[in-house]
């Protein structure tokens, strides 16, 4: 093993993936190579240093951490109240919403509709055919384009 291959082996050792025989070979190299030994020491130190760093943060915040359940319980209480309020609103909001829709419908329906209200003057009653005492009578919607037969009585007795 040399300084070209050792760094890869050092990382593999840290990952727990270095076979036992290669670990022994690496140990032999590290004993005689200060540069690779420094590499190994720095890598081996990352875990303990990270734990030490979080340990310092935990010591700094120990009183607040001791009161965590109190904080969580208070947060659950606030959240429960907020959910209760929003659920109450959701349960009753349909009443003003329905009233508002009804008012809007009353205000705007006649103006917005394309259909003209029914008016007899827009219809023609035509006698299509008369033969002695029998007639064919039709109710025709004149419309804007083509006339449309709405109702027809064939061979009605006069």
């Amino acid at each position: 093993m040399d300084c070209g291959t050792a760094p890869g082996k050092i990382l593999a050792k840290a990952d727990g993936l270095l076979p036992r025989e290669e670990a022994a070979e690496l140990a032999g190299h590290l004993a005689g190579c200060p540069a690779c030994a420094a590499e190994d020491a720095a890598l081996s130190a990352t875990g303990p240093l990270l734990r030490a760093l979080t340990g310092i943060r935990a010591m700094e915040k120990a009183p607040a951490l001791d009161a965590m359940w109190t904080r969580v319980r208070a947060g659950i209480g606030e959240s429960r109240e907020a959910r209760r309020r929003s659920s109450w609103i959701a349960r009753w909001v349909w009443i003003p919403a329905t009233v508002a829709v009804a008012i809007l419908a009353l205000l705007f329906y006649p103006a917005r509709t394309d259909r003209s209200p029914f008016h007899p003057s827009s219809f023609d009653v035509a006698v299509e055919d008369v033969e002695s005492d029998v007639a064919t009578v039709a109710l025709v919607d004149k419309g804007e384009d083509l006339p449309r037969v709405i109702w027809i009585i064939e061979d009605a007795k006069s």
């Binding site: 990382l11 990952d15 420094a38 590499e39 130190a45 240093l49 979080t54 700094e60 965590m68 659950i76």
Partner: protein, 196 residues
């Protein structure tokens, strides 16, 4: 390790009691996991106050999602997924995420060997070596967020690779790859700091 393994009231039983309406049982779960949760959160967000908020929010979220918990699986794996996501969200929203560029000079390979290989191994020792602690924090902050989560879960919490994969929703191979990368970056920062 769950409390079931340590001989206490199993997590599952506490969850069932909580679901039945006894909040004190959830308090027991909070007491049981708050320390580990804080260590993971502070490892990811970097700031102690932010980490406390993250732990609190994660427990509250867990309380309301408890009915979605699948009995038979590990509570802490399920909870850690919430915790890590909350931590990463917090990190993204914090100003710290924008102010810590990674110093590429730490990756220099032609540095000379250090005089001493000894690094502090306890919080008390590290507290005395403030420069090293700051350098380490900068190096952790400069890691991509999921790499940071992986190395914190592995090195601080001691989670197994497959558990980390479950928490992060990725493969074991991805976990190992991220861990490999993160360790390499931290190692370079330590060497660089030690070599001055």
């Amino acid at each position: 390790m769950s409390e079931r393994e340590k001989g206490g009231v199993p997590d599952d039983a506490l969850i069932r009691t909580t679901l039945a309406g006894d909040d004190a049982a959830f308090g027991e779960l909070v007491e049981r996991y708050k320390g580990r949760a804080f260590a993971v959160a502070v490892g990811i967000v970097g700031d102690g106050d932010d980490a406390l908020d993250v732990v609190q929010d994660s427990f509250i979220k867990a309380y309301y999602k408890l009915k979605e918990f699948r009995f038979g699986s590990n509570f802490y794996t399920w909870f850690y997924r919430l915790l890590v996501n909350q931590s990463i969200d917090r990190w993204r929203k914090s100003a710290r995420s924008a102010e810590v560029p990674f110093d590429e000079s730490w990756l220099s390979e032609d540095a000379s060997p250090p005089d001493s290989f000894a690094y502090p191994r306890t919080p008390e020792d590290l507290a005395r070596d403030r420069e090293l602690g700051d350098a380490l924090q900068r190096a952790v902050d400069a890691l991509p967020e999921y790499h940071r989560a992986v190395i914190v879960l592995r090195e601080v919490d001691g989670m197994a690779y497959d558990e980390i994969a479950k928490v992060l929703g990725c493969s074991v191979g991805t976990v190992m790859s991220r861990l490999h990368y993160a360790r390499g970056k931290l190692k370079e920062s330590l060497k660089s700091q030690r070599e001055g």
